[in-house]
Symmetry: none
Subunit: 195 residues, 4 copies
């Protein structure tokens, strides 16, 4: 890659980083293109040259974000720690998606775009799910996961929990309950010690 292209790629990344951090903090609607331009040290028009519209930009930013988050996810799944610990880390470990993500950034996309074209759904399918399938298999083999339960259901559960943990207001309130939450996930509300 020559210096010209490299500089171009750099600019594109600057914009993605700027947009990502702003979207994560304030949501998509509340962030103006001009703010992103300012934070990325480019003109508004440059953003349009690269991303066509705010709509398209938000999709690209999301893709960029998932790409980054997946790396963390991969690291945990392929690590050597025991299965239950992996699950806990996925759910509670803040290093995944290190910053708090603004709901809107997630849900806006989830809803607004999921239907027409499945851009995001596809990204999810191709990145998170394969890793999760691997993890799930490991859990079943070690007896930590009931083989009668569908992978989808567990995936949904874990995703939901992780999603909730990323909410600032929830996180702080729920932190003291970490142990209980984990127990419910593993043993249900009926509890471990039943007979």
């Amino acid at each position: 890659m020559d210096g010209f292209k490299r500089r171009k790629e750099q600019k594109k990344q600057d914009i993605l980083e700027a947009a990502l951090s702003l979207f994560m903090e304030y949501g998509i609607q509340k962030v103006a293109i001009s703010e992103i331009a300012h934070k990325a040290n480019v003109s508004q028009v440059t953003i349009y040259n690269y991303f066509e519209s705010k709509h398209k930009l938000s999709i690209d930013v999301f893709e960029y974000y998932v790409m980054k988050a997946t790396r963390d996810f991969e690291k945990i799944v392929t690590s050597d720690i025991p299965f239950p610990e992996k699950i806990k880390q996925i759910i509670f470990n803040k290093t995944i998606a290190s910053k708090q993500i603004h709901e809107e950034f997630y849900h806006f996309l989830m809803k607004e775009y999921a239907e027409q074209g499945n851009v995001i759904e596809k990204i999810y399918q191709e990145t998170a799910i394969p890793y999760f399938a691997k993890l799930f298999e490991e859990g079943k083999q070690q007896g930590h996961v009931d083989p009668n339960i569908s992978q989808e259901a567990i995936f949904f559960y874990i995703h939901m929990l992780k999603d909730y943990m990323q909410r600032e207001e929830v996180y702080t309130k729920i932190l003291p309950l970490t142990e209980d939450i984990s127990n419910i996930l593993f043993y249900g509300i009926v509890g471990k010690e039943r007979n």
Copy 2:
């Protein structure tokens, strides 16, 4: 109440209903006051006469919504069906908050206001929680709930599930997994039949 007051109350309710349904479908930011006015068959200014600002309106709409939702909740909790059935109904029964709720309508308020004054927190505390505590007690006495788990954790769990179920895109996808989801809630991912 004379005809005057009744009509006034009617109009106020019309506005609340119009705003509620629009907020639930599109979120708060995307809905213009003019749209609410149109849907409620009043002028924009009338809305301002009753609710002072969009901000205040959104709070009142939320209160109105919680009030309505609580009635359904109460009905289930005080009904004669078995405990597990109650839980399932609370989570999966769409008649509660019959329509889909737009995240933003929930989260915007949860976040935006929860801090300064706790208007919404208070509403929640005074309505949902007492009923839930009663339900929780019943579950413990019948052996459906592990007494070692804190009420907060379970409340959080059920709330989270119910919240997720109200998302259109989740609901349709998760519906076939109802049984699995319930099982995980009651017995965890380790499963019922473990030994």
Copy 3:
């Protein structure tokens, strides 16, 4: 006047007083009819029943104000104090039009209406000027006023000074200069002690 009419008159006066004090403090444009209604303890419509429009109201308020101010003016002119003292009191004495008057309340009317119908000009002509003429005559006879100067010019001068004194920001700044201002009025910038 029966009780009915008296009550009616009372309401009218309440409105005038409320409007006057608000206009004097904030100017006409900045004061909303609703504020006047609130301060006068009547409904907005009542104001319209009595005064037809905000425009007309402002004229009536001005008339009401001049009427009140004239009484003070009369008192000074017909009092027993020496001529120079009278002039000083007229200009500097805050008891005339006791409160500060907002420019706009004066100028808006002066300009906006003066042309078409001379409503205010007429009021002025019929109230202030006759008293001033009397005062002016007294000054000339006592040698305090140059008979070669036209009454209009002096009237203009004094009016201008008094007008300026009523401006809050001017008043405070000019107060320490009272003596100088007086001297200039009586002896000019060339000064008393010239030869």
Copy 4:
């Protein structure tokens, strides 16, 4: 300065001129941004791009106005005509601030802003006053000004007179009294020929 910048400066000036003439005729509150935009042949938003808000615009317009007016003032003060003539020209010469100024444009600013930050006060201090001080000194040396009278008092007087002269309705009425007014300023109401 390249064509780009020149055109930008031109547009900025167009807006200032449009705003100035409208403010001077109708006052600030009565003039809508859209009117200024129309008169300056730009879009409303362009105005916001340059001036941020109506509030800020009004300040900039005022500064622009004072700058223009000062040039005329300077010309008179540094000219070769006799002192009394200079004073008369300052007060009565319409070429200063050639157009009529709407009170509100002056007073609104004088009052609204003078307090917090003294933006306008500062402009005044730095432009008009130094020239006036020079003039004042000249008058004293030539025996036209009583050295016992403070500069502030005289400044106040002249400012007041000039201010009044700029009012359309006053100007036409007072024009025939020019000589008398001048005499009062120089010799007071007691008059020149007293003994």
